[in-house]
Symmetry: C2
Subunit: 484 residues, 2 copies
């Protein structure tokens, strides 16, 4: 993980943050949030919420603000997510940043085979890539949808791949309570039982709100299952402003805040003290076409304010990534990725989903964009790493040695530091035009194509006890039989 000690960028003055908070409390008290889940509604009612069971499309829950503030205060400020390889343990929260690959796309794209439906092989490839790259600290979850596996059982194959091909922390399946339970059982085999998991959480799962103001049954089933097993969740309103929220960033932030705090309150009522992350997935619709638009200036601003809100509530924050609406890893893809990634880092985001590989509004996992995004992640780390002002950093001996009009290439100070003084690019090309042309006049995506292949070649499967391997296979086989 990254420890980011750079100052956070406080985009919105504190009075603005207070105004959003106050309005959020009004929305929770006066408008409420709908929960399509009896047990969840029961728990909220018992805690003092006002419930309208006849409301449509689901029971409407109104939250007293004292309850919300009391409950969210129980969630830890930061927590450790344990990995199969303890060197890959990460802290979620505080000054730490954990980067995870793209999540959710049904398709993949690369320069060799073009755009196509993703398969289990692609799934394994992206897990391997996230394992190889030190700048990613999480193996991911649905890095792609493996469409060649039956829908009812593919969560088993995905979790098996995450557990065996990677030794980094990972994300659980959220399609149903049953799936979530299978993921917990598989993890329990690897980590030594459900009791161990409850003490040392190993998986972080993505609970999306069906915005506006609705938690659906499927997501609440998954939320309840993970939280009861004391596995942390990312409670994330999924908002494209203008469609799922008002066509205004202020109101959208209020809605997101109300939705997130309502869900986080529920997690603490179900299992007090369970780690939970304040999530934001907030962009806007293109109001001409109705299409989702990513890497927009509004989403960049909203990301910074979302992080400010999470800090106000002392909760770890998830947001940002390398988002874009572009169909190919071209100029647009990369300026939009930067438009999201730069504020992601300035916000000190604690968990960054979609940090690498996202393309086409999240419909495609791109092999080349994955590599290009990793370049951005590396650069952002150097950027926020600070500037040394000790004797070697100030280099006064170099000034003594090199006079006006001179060259520093040969200075003693340069000799001491040239190897690691500056960032070395991964795919960016700094050669002059003639050399670049002689080497094939390659664009960045063509160079990136070579890099992911090299990474897949370098991939080494982390060792795993054979008894555990067999137990995993056995569990999967049994469950597949039960399910089919």
């Amino acid at each position: 993980m990254i420890t980011n000690t750079a100052p956070k960028y406080e985009y919105m003055p504190s009075e603005g943050i207070e105004k959003i908070h106050e309005t959020t409390m009004r929305v929770l008290e006066e408008f409420g949030i709908a929960f399509s889940h009896d047990e969840a509604v029961d728990a909220l009612e018992r805690a003092g919420c006002e419930v309208d069971r006849d409301a449509l499309p689901a029971p409407l829950v109104k939250f007293p603000r004292e309850l919300v503030m009391e409950q969210i205060a129980q969630a830890p400020r930061e927590f450790t997510l344990h990995a199969r390889n303890p060197q890959n343990n990460v802290i979620i929260g505080g000054n730490h940043m954990v980067l995870a690959p793209v999540y959710g796309p049904p398709n993949v794209q690369d320069l060799d085979k073009g755009r196509r439906e993703a398969t289990m092989e692609d799934y394994r490839n992206f897990v391997k890539l996230a394992q190889v790259v030190p700048d990613l600290h999480n193996a991911g979850g649905t890095v792609v949808e493996p469409n060649d596996e039956p829908q009812e059982t593919r969560h088993l194959d995905m979790m098996h791949a995450l557990l065996t091909l990677s030794d980094k922390p990972f994300m659980g399946n959220v399609v149903s309570a049953e799936n979530a339970n299978d993921c917990i059982e598989l993890a329990a085999i690897v980590f030594g039982g459900r009791d161990v998991l409850a003490k040392q959480p190993v998986m972080l799962s993505l609970i999306n709100v069906n915005s506006p103001r609705l938690y659906d049954t499927r997501m609440l089933d998954a939320l309840m299952t993970y939280v009861r097993a004391r596995q942390p969740v990312l409670v994330t309103p999924f908002i494209l402003a203008g469609a799922m929220s008002p066509v205004a960033v202020g109101g959208t932030l209020v809605q997101q805040n109300a939705e997130a705090l309502a869900g986080i309150t529920l997690t603490q009522l179900v299992n007090p003290g369970t780690p939970v992350v304040y999530g934001s997935f907030l962009s806007n619709s293109d109001m001409q076409s109705g299409s989702p638009a990513f890497g927009t200036p509004e989403s960049a601003a909203a990301l910074l304010v979302s992080a400010q809100l999470a800090r106000k509530y002392n909760l770890p924050f998830r947001g940002g990534g390398g988002l874009t609406s572009s169909k190919v890893p071209d100029g647009q893809a990369m300026w939009e990725a930067m438009m999201t990634l730069f504020p992601t880092f300035l916000a000190g985001t604690n968990f960054v989903l979609h940090a690498a590989g996202w393309l086409e509004s999240g419909l495609v996992s791109s092999y080349e964009k994955f590599v290009m995004d990793v370049e951005l992640l590396k650069m952002m780390q150097v950027f926020l790493g600070g500037i040394a002002l000790d004797d070697e950093g100030l280099a006064l001996d170099a000034f003594e040695e090199i006079g006006p009009g001179g060259y520093f290439f040969g200075a003693a100070h340069t000799m001491r530091h040239f190897r690691d003084a500056f960032y070395r690019p991964l795919v960016a090309d700094v050669q002059n035009y003639i050399r670049w042309e002689q080497k094939g006049a390659e664009t960045a995506d063509v160079r990136a194509n070579r890099v992911w292949k090299k990474w897949l070649n370098e991939y080494a499967r982390p060792a795993m006890d054979s008894a555990i391997q067999e137990a995993l296979i056995e569990f999967m086989a049994r469950r597949k039989q039960e399910i089919v």
Copy 2:
């Protein structure tokens, strides 16, 4: 111009800024700066500097810190640059940002004709593009080098183009004192005489330091000429760290600061109170190849600190732009441009040279990249524009209208605001894959190609009094005869 009221990003803690300041003062007092110009050296010596006239490659001047602080305090915090069309007047300094096109490339590139030597036609095209685009507030200077015009007289044709094809402020030629004087004379014809210019500055010229620690004769000739005519200059150390400065960002910032403050001190001794801008052009060498590298993480950090230093000295700040080492407007070009532009805006940079069109480490002015950069400039303005939290911004009536799980597209609040609620992209494509493919599967550069042609079509030459037009032609003809 832009009024940027967003908070500045204070990258470096104030103790760091103080340490850089202190070390800078030591460099000025103990190591000194070389000035290859007798009059400049005389002025500095008279003011109390210690001068070694026998030093090589030029007289070495050591500055008492009190003198430096006294002199730079005379330069105005902000000033107005006057335009032929008073609606295009801009303030340089304070919370204002003025954006100017690329400066210096000998080549141009577009998708139709590829990379080639720039001509006077290209020069005129880029001046026209900067005139058409409202997001650029300055017509530029050497938008390209027009290689088809004789070197000795091309400054006349360039200045004539700036004065007649644009009615925005512009930049003067700095090749020699004679050239600078020609530019002032031409401007005087348009603005009503040298006296008017002295009261209402109209041109801003780029004085580069021949780093490390050397002001050469040519640049000092231009500086003295402009400053005596009370036209502001951008005093800008030109530094690729590792070559022209130590291979360390801290020492490089010290050197830049010493060089800039020395030159600014000179401007105030020559003509006290003349407006001057603290300039930074700071990137690093790729230490493997020795090539210049742009859009690097080190340059992003240095840019923010440079702006902090300029603020400390109450001086307007120039820096940043859309810099890249890429040879084509691909993914690399745009992530590197963003790596520089994002901090440019976070720093509240007052004058941004190279804001649009820069490609290939500054060797190429790209028509397509120009358009793509303008998209970034538009987005950054929206990003820093803030979030409205009034009643319409919070949209509580929309929450009242649209319940859980609903869609906001039809809400009354949406009807009131959908037209201008969110940024509308210039070249970014948000269509779905099928539509995008049906429309030709265009990458961003292909779409940008259409935009600059449309802009050139839309260009309208601003009106100018025919007597002034004739006087300009007459002056040019006379000077060309004298020079040849």
